[in-house]
């Protein structure tokens, strides 16, 4: 287990009576690629700015290597930042932008000589594949090139931690994909701890060792990408990470959850008997089967071809599910579905319950289902559910 590098303890941030962060507790380990993920306004950038030293938390403490650094100004922190809009110095060329930190600082207790600066800048240009660009004006570079200058400018100082604030947000999709791989490679090569802010869940899942999902100034879940995706703790996380059908259920006992009046086998345990819960079913975990074999039956209302699969919207008594399947089912056809126990994820009820996970466009139908006033389903027999 790598040692802890940064710890935020009960960090709260209030701007003009607006609580932006509410008692955040976070531990960042050495060499970790940690992503703060959430919608805009969730507090992820504020968290990053607290670590960078640009804002002080209203209350709570920030520790770096066990030392409290609340009052340490940004220029004295061994942390460097890649800013959202790069913030390259327009009056300096590529070379001088990268050399900026080397020229003004002492490194290992002394000023660097011209030759040392030169070799470190050239080494960085090599790493970010910008060799030959050293005397280009930064304003003449493309977005992706500016991005790489910003990364080089931060990394050349050999920081303990690199903070990245939505660094790929301004790039087009293709470039973003390339830079994701590039960033991961740089992180692995340098062994520097990356704290990465994004609202792009795919980016977060593909690059990170640890994902921190935030909303409303509160950390919703911390975990590996697999944990976050497979075992979301509440409806918000389930909805934010990937596509999810989230339905009301009742946890009858360990391993048995009731949805739409039917009992389903699941792998979850540790809930109170008959506890009302949220149940997440990922669109790719639903198998479309013959109507007589289905655990539930519904009517297809919409089919969209997505290339690899079809997005199928299925109406189950007014609650519309998204199902991703490679089997084509025509609109208005009746289908049965089957869900394996590991495709069912049970979560405690939260403030987010009922807000997400319905693909219905009619809120009236949705209300009806939320009330859980369900008629017994006629086509599925009880024993079907333990088959899987």
């Amino acid at each position: 287990m790598a040692k802890e590098l940064i710890r935020l303890r009960d960090c709260t941030m209030v701007f003009d009576d607006d609580v932006v962060l509410n008692k955040i507790n976070l531990s960042i380990k050495d060499n970790e690629f940690l992503t703060l993920l959430g919608p805009s306004g969730c507090g992820k950038t504020t968290t990053l700015r607290i670590i960078g030293g640009f804002v002080k938390p209203t209350s709570g403490d920030v520790f770096f290597n066990g030392v409290r650094i609340n009052d340490v100004p940004p220029h004295k922190r061994t942390v460097n930042t890649v800013f959202q809009k790069y913030a390259l110095f327009p009056h300096l060329d590529v070379y001088e932008n990268i050399a900026f930190g080397l020229r003004i600082n002492r490194h290992e207790g002394r000023r660097l000589s011209k030759d040392e600066i030169h070799s470190r800048v050239m080494e960085m240009l090599e790493i970010v594949s910008l060799k030959g660009f050293e005397h280009r004006d930064v304003t003449s570079l493309s977005g992706g090139q500016q991005q790489r200058v910003a990364i080089a400018r931060a990394l050349v100082n050999r920081p303990k931690v690199l903070l990245l604030d939505e660094p790929l947000g301004a790039l087009d999709l293709r470039l973003r994909k390339d830079m994701q791989i590039e960033l991961k490679r740089i992180q692995e090569a340098t062994g520097i701890t990356f704290v990465y802010v994004t609202h792009d869940q795919e980016e977060a899942l593909s690059m990170s060792d640890t994902v921190v999902v935030m909303d409303g100034g509160v950390i919703q879940q911390i975990g590996t990408p697999e944990d976050i995706y497979n075992e979301p703790v509440n409806a918000f996380v389930a909805d934010f990470i990937g596509e999810s059908n989230i339905v009301d259920g009742i946890m009858i006992e360990d391993g048995v959850v009731e949805i739409f009046g039917k009992k389903f086998a699941c792998l979850d345990a540790g809930f109170a008997p008959n506890e009302p819960v949220d149940v997440v079913i990922r669109p790719e975990d639903v198998d479309i089967v013959d109507i007589k074999d289905g655990m539930l039956t519904g009517t297809v209302t919409n089919v969209t071809f997505k290339g690899v699969h079809y997005d199928v919207i299925v109406d189950f008594k007014g609650f519309k599910w998204l199902i991703q399947t490679t089997d084509y089912c025509p609109v208005n056809s009746r289908i049965g579905i089957k869900i394996d126990p590991d495709g069912i994820h049970v979560m405690h009820k939260s403030q987010y319950s009922g807000m997400f996970g319905d693909y219905s466009s009619y809120s009236a139908e949705y209300e009806e289902i939320s009330d859980a006033e369900l008629e017994p389903e006629e086509t599925v027999s009880e024993d079907k559910l333990y088959e899987a």
Partner: protein
């Protein structure tokens, strides 16, 4: 293409009030009273070298003082909160809404030998000073009148510097002094250059300030030119020649400045 016609009134305006006067000045400068082509007017200017050098010297001193006072004011101003900034900007502009002559007369009554300043000094038991009718009085008058033209362009450039650039510099290890020296100052230079233009040009050609505060003894180019058109020395040909030479010198100064300030200009374009 139709839009081209919309610029027609401006082209007419420019032709009438910019191009035509310059042509007239050039024609006058190269002709004698009899209307013949001549270089005499330029030859005569040899006697006025001291006026040229005094004008440029006082204008340079005034511009320098304007930078020394105006830059910190502009910088501090840009750090204030938006509301305070608006109020302070208004206070800086307020004197400009008063008549220029009136403001200069006010300085006369302050700087006079029996004026406000000396009465104050006497009251404090200090010796009186003789400022009125000296080059110092002219510099004070110029600085007072042209200072806002230095503050405003510098302020408007500094205030537009992206905050993230300052944060980036801090992030890379720059303390407040280094942030200023390496980022804010270089990026504010275009504002300083336009401030210099806006102060230096009127300062080098002023005649009201030098007449009211400098007395007769400290003649400046503006006074000299005015005399050739409205004064006893009536000679519009010589006046035009002086005006032309002054214009050329100012243009050379501006060209040099822009050449060396080119890097900074690009920063503002960003």
């Amino acid at each position: 293409m139709k839009l081209k016609y919309l610029s027609a009134p401006y082209i007419v305006w420019m032709a009438l009030f910019v191009v035509a006067p310059v042509i007239i000045v050039v024609v006058y400068a190269f002709t004698s009273a009899a209307g013949e082509f001549t270089f005499d007017n330029f030859a005569k200017m040899g006697g006025y070298v001291s006026v040229f050098s005094r004008s440029f010297l006082l204008a340079i001193i005034s511009t320098a003082i304007c930078i020394i006072i105006g830059y910190p004011v502009a910088y501090i101003l840009s750090k204030e909160r938006a509301r305070q900034q608006r109020i302070l900007i208004m206070l800086i502009m307020l004197p400009m809404w008063m008549n220029f002559l009136l403001r200069t007369y006010a300085w006369m009554s302050i700087l006079e030998n029996t004026g406000l300043l000396n009465r104050l000094l006497t009251l404090l038991g200090l010796p009186a000073v003789n400022i009125i009718n000296t080059p110092t009085a002219i510099v004070i008058g110029m600085v007072y009148n042209f200072l806002p033209f230095m503050i405003l362009p510098i302020y408007s450039v500094i205030v537009k510097i992206d905050r993230s650039l300052i944060e980036a510099a801090q992030d890379l290890g720059a303390n407040a002094v280094t942030v200023f020296r390496r980022v804010i100052f270089p990026l504010s230079l275009p504002g300083v250059f336009s401030g210099i233009t806006m102060v230096f040009v009127p300062a080098v050609s002023t005649f009201v300030i030098s007449q009211l505060l400098g007395g007769g003894a400290n003649m400046l180019l503006g006074d000299l030119i005015e005399m050739q058109f409205l004064g006893a020395a009536y000679n519009p040909h010589l006046g035009s020649a002086i005006a032309l030479v002054m214009m050329v010198i100012v243009m050379i100064c501006m060209w040099l400045m822009n050449k060396f300030g080119a890097g900074g200009e690009e920063a503002v374009m960003l």
